[in-house]
């Protein structure tokens, strides 16, 4: 403890010695390529190589987006000021499907990883279902659940369940046998060992599965909204395509990217908090 506090000022000293331009460069380094791409795109769109309707310039996308979000000039017509509502409908579907996948994926994954009997009983079915692309379930999803939230949630569940399941099984199976011995030595029953040793030991793997799953979840929400639902960001995207409003299409694409990024960030932050014991033991801490 005392060592830490004495070494801190020493560690800070070299930071102060870094020249100003270097520190400024450090701040903007990550922005250089994105800005260049945007500028290039703007110039290309305005140059007239392509008809402007086919590739709207970033500035035009921004105008459409601003109206979609804040109802600035009404250029997006029925969507004007409707963004937050569209985002909320999509996010709700993602959240619902993702939550079901997490509960079922972790639960079934723990059972399969822990018990050979459960593994033999359930795995064949899962192995056959797994290669079936979630999108191919759309017809059945529509006849079963109709055109509303439910088919979208079902698809999101299908897409995000397997990453969670597989990473949970992997996490449980790679649990250190010696930790279980230590747990048995301290008088733990199988149920307690599962809860207090196997589950926490599997958490790093479970979280990496959740991060893959959230990506699939957004992908499938948007797909479902294009086909089976009449609201949400995916629906706006597809609907704008019919009305040849590619600026809104791009604004919707960017919105989805942003939402996916934010949900991934949220999981990352939760993981960093739950797995804080890993700090300093892995490369990415």
């Amino acid at each position: 403890m005392t060592q830490l506090s004495t070494s801190l000022p020493a560690a800070q000293a070299p930071v102060a010695a870094v020249p100003l331009w270097k520190r400024l460069y450090g701040r903007i380094e990550r922005a250089i390529v994105p800005v260049l791409l945007l500028v290039g795109w703007e110039i290309f769109s305005r140059s007239g190589v392509l008809p402007p309707a086919l590739l709207p310039a970033p500035s035009q996308v921004l105008v459409a987006w601003a109206d979609w979000v804040f109802a600035t000039d009404g250029n997006t017509q029925t969507y004007s000021g409707h963004w937050i509502h569209d985002v909320a409908s999509s996010a709700l579907r993602v959240f619902a499907g993702f939550a079901i996948s997490t509960v079922l994926g972790v639960g079934i994954g723990m059972a399969i990883g822990w018990s050979r009997t459960v593994e033999r009983l359930i795995e064949p079915v899962l192995q056959i279902l797994r290669p079936v692309p979630p999108v191919s379930w759309i017809p059945l999803a529509i006849i079963w659940f109709g055109i509303a939230d439910k088919p979208a949630i079902f698809l999101v569940f299908l897409g995000s369940f397997f990453p969670v399941l597989l990473s949970t099984i992997h996490g449980v199976k790679s649990c250190d046998r010696n930790l279980l011995r230590a747990g048995a030595m301290t008088g733990g029953t199988p149920g307690k060992l599962l809860r207090y040793i196997v589950f926490p030991a599997a958490l790093p793997s479970i979280f990496s599965g959740l991060r893959i799953a959230i990506g699939s979840a957004w992908m499938l929400t948007v797909t479902a909204e294009m086909v089976a639902v009449k609201s949400g960001v995916g629906y706006v995207l597809w609907d704008s395509y019919y009305f040849l409003r590619y600026d809104i299409v791009i604004a919707a694409m960017v919105s989805i990217g942003l939402l996916g990024f934010l949900s991934d960030l949220a999981i990352k932050l939760i993981a960093a908090r739950v797995l804080r014991w890993q700090r300093g033991t892995t490369k990415e801490a």
Binding site: L179, R181, M185, G187, G188, K192, I197, L275
Partner: protein, 256 residues
Amino acid sequence: MSLIEINNATRLFDDPKRKGSVKALDNVSLHVARNEFLCLLGPSGCGKSTLLNLIAGFDKPSSGTVRVGGQIVSAPGADRGVVFQQPTLMPWLSVWENVAFHLTMQGVGKELRRKKAQHFIEMVNLKGFENHFPSELSGGMNQRVGIARALLMNPEVILMDEPFGALDEQTKMEMHAELVRIWRDSQSTIVFVTHGIDESLALGTHVAVMSARPGRIREMITVDLPRPRDPTSPEFNDAKRHILSLLRPEPVTTEA
């Protein structure tokens, strides 16, 4: 009555590749009284860890019986605290939560766990590190956490499987002194597996010298040197010389 009673224990391991079996322990009988500090000493592969695992309940004898406190051992249990070769701590739990892991298994509330852990953390000299994670401590410190975890269960017997094998000589000597102090203070019974002659003589009230293939106990030596033991004293060296002569391979002529 002895606390640990092992009668004619044999342990065979199947070797499917060679269609046979390996005899890790051959007809071993061993009695350990309460408050004894027994060191199982022998070369690697002599079955000393197998013997310890039988007492811990991680393994069962192919024939013969293992009793602790009169009860036949059938599974691991909190009456036998084990300190492993590697610290084997839960990496996601802080020092105090690892020490109190036995209480977690029993469903004891956080406040009481924290309170009870403190006593044992201080016993192994880890005060100030209660909230550190195992990854933030050195190997020797983690091994102390493992010892505190075993002590907290107030077990009938503490089983230690080369717990200081990975430590440097200096730290090892410190840990020896501390372990002897803990053994005295807690009035516990310890079975300690080691391949170090000096280590066994520095610690044990008894040393069971084992021979390999098949694993047998060659001789049970009572060590009554005064403590703290001086590893350079003539008596210590006499005992060491005797053990060395036991560990030397038997002359071929006696076997023929």
